[in-house]
Structures are given as C-alpha cells and as structure tokens.
C-alpha cells in the first residue's frame, strides 16, 4: 500500500515542503530510501525500524520504498525520521490515512521511540506561516518553543513515537502547545549582570566612542597596548546595544536554529548575538560554507556584534572575505551542490595592538619593534577593510590613579537608554529610506541628511587641509558626526559634533 505524509526540509535558512511517500509491497524484504538522501538521512531506515519495534508495533517484513519528493534536491539530516515512521504505519494500515492529512511532521527518532530535537525548526514553522496554511506542525517537544516564535500556526509537541500514534488515532489526548514567544526586555538585564560598563576604570574616551558606535551602528577598531582594556570594553559592548525588535530576533534566531545552536531554554534569542571567534578561524568558518552550506560567524552575528580580537593576527584571507558582508549585509556562498545567500548585517568591533610587541606609541614602555615590523603588522589590515570601519579608536594604558581608583562611571543601562533614544531619532528620519542607521548611509544620502552648521563646515575643511583627510575620511567623519548629533537629538550637525567625529579618525590622523 502507498501512503503520503508531509514534512519539510531546510536549505540555507529557508524551509521547503517535502512529501514523504512510502510504498510497501511483498517480495524480498528491503528498506530503501530514495530522493537524494545523505548518510544521516539514509540511516533513518535503521532508526525507524527500531523505533517502531520498540514502540510496541510490528515492523513489516516487506519491500519498503521511501521517496522524499522533490526527488532532485539533496536531503540531509535526520529530520525525516518521524515522517517516514508515520508514513510506514499509514502504509501498513496501522494508522488511518485521513488522520495524517493537513499535518506536517518533523523530528528525529531514537531507537527506543523517543522523538529527538532537530535543527531548523523555526524556518519550518516560518514556512507554514508564509504559506498561510492551516496545517498542523508536529515537532519534537524540545523544539516546541522555537516553533512558537512564529505566530499564527498550530503546533503540537511530541515526546515519543507512540505518543504521536496515540494522538493520530485519537485515543490519547495530546495538548496543543500554545502561547507565543516574544522578546522580553526584562530578561536582558540578567544576561549582562556580570558585564557592565561601570566595571571599567577610566577609558571615558573609549566608552563614549562605543556609545556613538552603538547609536549609529558604526564599525569600530580599537588600537592600544596589551592590558589597556580593549577586550573588556568589547565584551561589555552588547550590554549597551539597542533592544532586538521581534523581526530582527526571528531573523537571527532562524540562522542560529539552522546552525543548531539554539538551546531549549532560549527559544528566541533575547539579546543581540556577540560572536568572538578565535583568530585562527578559517575563512569558511567565518563566512559560512561546507558541502551543504551552513552559516558562518558573520551570519551568526546578524543584527549583533562580530568581535575580532587581535585583528592583525587573523589570516589575511579571513579578513578579506569580510568585505562583501560588510558592504552588502549578506554573504553569498557558492558550492557545487547549491548557491545560497545568508544575511550578515553585523557590527564589526575589532581590537588590535599597534605593533608586534604591543607598546608602539605607549608613553611608559618602550617599543622594541623595528619600523618595518610595525609597518608590516599594521599593513595586515588592508585599506579596503579599514575603509569600512567608521570609528578608529586609540585605547591608551591607564594611569596610576585610574588603576588604583574606584571603578565607576555610568552603568550600561544609562548608556543604553541614550543609545535607544538616538536609534529612535534615526529611525524617524529614515522612515522613507531602506536604512535604519547612520552607518548605512550612502554617499548621496550623506549630502541629503547631514546638514552641517557653518562653523562645522569650516572645521571639516581644516581637517582636510591640515590632517590630510581623504574624501572617504571626510564622509566617514560626517556620518559619525551625524550620530553624535543624534545622541543629542539635534537635526543640525554642530562644530562640537564634527570635532568629536574627527577625533575618531586616529589612523587617518597618524598617517598625516
């Protein structure tokens, strides 16, 4: 007998529907899965066989053929186990065929018949919502919360195969999982309980620069000697970022779901991601890839922060592949099997020493690098990459009384409140544009939106003349000045805004 059961699969970060067809015929016993399954998918046969037996049902000793349609797309992973098992039981007439209509099954089976969690449940749920279908999604209990992030769909969570069978036959009451998951700002505070800006002594200049970066979505590079607090500052950076909107949260959670990084507790990412890969990372790990392309660090940091500590130690290739995502907010990965595009709109926060020994331009400690060494070290960070970084920040060593003094200053919450305000101010201004923050301003938009006062204009001209600012540096300064003005909710960019912005071009200045 033939049966058809619906399931879905994920390619990139989007799901597509899959029909699982099961045919049972007499003949020499066999269990074949067709429709381009990978190894994990083909091994499903063994899991399904044991799971059915251990759920107290008999497994038909017949010729079984399973087709995963559309047959020309490669299927990967164990997410079809549940659909195959149900299809088999329908074909075997253990479950009436009309009971599986309008239901979509996904889940991995364990040998004892339990339903295990799978990656990519959120995209599957989103697929149903997009289609606007009133089909019921049956997911593993551990992924239930994840599925509920999507509104307007019916979700049932199951723990065991026998539970699903009971539910389909109607002799067991399975409660529908309901409620929805939304971003809750209250939880945010607990996340950063131990990481607060008030922990950092001194470095007021750097703190202010990070506030500007968070407000305008600008990329930042911090340059300073070891022990100055670059990493400490960066780790606390997420605590001053504006809150996730629901759409942003879902988009980022989708990527994390596909990558299999979601925990059961945090169904929807509640705070912006902070990714800090080690500098030995490969370029595939950075931008994503693999035979079946998986998202890389840049995509996992979508709507969040990508922190690259010791930027100059990274492999040059790895830094160069950052150009496309920094430019376009997405990465396109091409492999023989498929070409996929992952979103990757992140804020880059980089930290580096100025030279191999780390003490170049340090007032106290002498640098023992040769000029060539220093030049070589900094040249690892290429011009085009530096070009994408709006704020260049020097983080000097702390002074004695700063180190021994009390920690303090503003807390992250106080700073975040200002950042949120500035973000709102920007959003109101760009409501007719496709952008959300100053960092995304294009050249023609800079002219339109960055109106400067006469004194400010004079100051900029002076910067071009005396500091040797390039046209690029000029634009960057204007954008940053725009954000500084936004923090004060001023439509006009004044001289003090511009002068602060010029301050954040330390590399341009030192070159001059």
């Amino acid at each position: 007998m033939l049966s058809t059961v619906f399931s879905s699969a994920v390619v990139g970060i989007d799901a597509y529907p899959v029909e699982v067809e099961v045919d049972i015929s007499s003949g020499i016993p066999a269990f074949n899965i067709v429709g381009l399954p990978d190894t994990a998918c083909r091994e499903s046969a063994d899991r399904v066989r044991s799971a059915i037996k251990n759920s107290g049902l008999s497994f038909p000793s017949k010729k079984i053929t399973v087709n995963l349609a559309p047959a020309d797309i490669k299927k990967e992973g164990s997410g079809f186990d549940l659909a195959i098992a149900i299809g088999l039981l329908v074909a075997n007439e253990s479950i009436p065929a009309e009971q599986v209509k309008g239901k979509v099954f996904c889940g991995e089976l364990s040998l004892d018949g339990r339903v295990r969690g799978i990656p990519g449940v959120l995209p599957r749920a989103a697929l149903l919502a997009e289609e606007g279908s009133d089909e019921v999604l049956i997911v593993p209990a551990v992924n239930a919360k994840e599925a509920l992030c999507v509104k307007g769909i019916h979700v049932y969570a199951c723990k065991t195969l026998s539970g699903v069978i009971g539910f389909l036959k109607g002799d067991r009451e399975v409660t529908k999982t309901s409620g929805s998951v939304v971003v809750s700002p209250e939880k945010k505070e607990s996340q950063f309980e131990h990481l607060d800006f008030s922990d950092i002594k001194g470095q007021h200049h750097a703190k202010r620069a990070l506030e500007v970066a968070a407000a305008g979505g600008h990329n930042v590079i911090m340059i300073g000697p070891p022990g100055a607090g670059k990493t400490m500052l960066a780790k606390r950076f997420p605590s001053i970022l504006s809150d996730f909107s629901q759409e942003e949260a879902i988009e980022t959670t989708k990527i994390h779901s596909v990558a299999g990084l979601l925990t059961q507790k945090a169904a929807l990412l509640e705070y912006r991601p902070f990714r800090d890969p080690h500098h030995t990372i490969s370029n595939v790990a950075m931008i994503g890839g693999g035979k079946y392309p998986k998202p890389g660090e840049v995509s996992l940091a979508h709507h969040g922060v990508l922190f690259l500590d010791e930027l100059a130690e990274f492999n040059r290739n790895v830094l160069e592949v950052l150009r496309q995502p920094l430019e376009e907010g997405r990465v396109t990965i091409s492999r023989a099997a498929s070409t996929l595009t992952f979103p990757a709109r992140f804020m880059l926060v980089a930290a580096t020493n100025p030279c191999p020994c780390g003490y170049f331009s340090d007032p106290k400690k002498e640098c023992n690098c040769t000029p060539i060494q220093v030049k070589k070290y900094m040249s690892k960070i290429s011009g085009p990459l530096l070009d994408r970084i709006d704020i260049q920040l020097e983080v000097p060593c702390l002074k004695v009384n700063e180190i021994t003094g009390k920690s303090g200053g503003e807390t992250s919450d106080m700073i975040r409140a200002r950042v949120e305000k500035a973000r709102l101010f920007q959003r109101a201004r760009y409501c007719h544009e496709k952008i959300a923050s100053n960092a995304e301003l294009e050249a023609h938009q800079v002219e339109k939106y960055c109106r400067v006062s006469p004194e400010a204009e004079k100051l900029l001209k002076m910067a071009i003349q005396t500091l040797g600012f390039s046209a690029r540096a000029y634009h960057k300064s204007l954008k940053v000045a725009r954000t500084i003005a936004d923090l004060e909710e001023s439509e006009l960019i004044n001289a003090e805004h511009v002068s602060e912005a010029i301050h954040y071009r330390s590399l341009d200045r030192s070159v001059a």
Partner: protein, 123 residues
Amino acid sequence: METASQALGIVGEELAFHFLSQQGYKILLKNYECALGEIDLIAKEKGVLVFIEVKTRRSDAMGMPAESVTFHKRRQIIKTAYYYLKRYGIKDVPCRFDVVSILMPVNGSPSLELIRDAFGEGD
C-alpha cells in the same frame, strides 16, 4: 571427499530440517543451488516463502554460528533467492530470510536457535 566441517554442516541441516518441520514449516527444497550460490532450505510458513540458512558450529569459541552469516553471505543468499523467484516465475509472494544457528558440542546435545526475519535487502 568430505571434510569434517562439511560433514558437520550436513548433520546440522538434517537437524534443522526436523526442527523446522516440527515448527510448522513446510520444507519445499533442500540445498537449492544455482550459479549465484546456494540456499540450505526453502520452506513455506503461513503463506510466506522462507529462505533458510543453517549454520552449525562445534563451539562458540569463535563466536556464535549465526554471527558467521556475514554481509557477503547474506548478499549471496538474497541474490540466489532473487534467481529462484525469477526462475520459477514466483511473483507477489511475501518472502523472508531466516537463520538457524546450531551449536553442536563434541560430547553433548546440540542446541538450536531459530532467528526469524534475520535480514533483508540493504542490511
């Protein structure tokens, strides 16, 4: 010339024949042979065509007899079964593969174990 192990095999198949008959199997053929291989017993049980491999050993020192029905051997039996079905034009009959594992110590009574539906294609 018959080796000791061949002789043991024949004794084992004889034992299995009687054992399965008692179990309600209707034995159709013994030692079916073709160019592809050999099947020890072909029988019918409750409308199912059963291909049976009998494996006999003196001791379990080298593992149980059934364990020696390796992947290669199983494939050979399946191929032979396919040939048998084709040769006699048998269609749409449910089939099954059983293994009879016999442990026959030198001095002691033999112990038989019947493994129903021991394998299928793709195992």
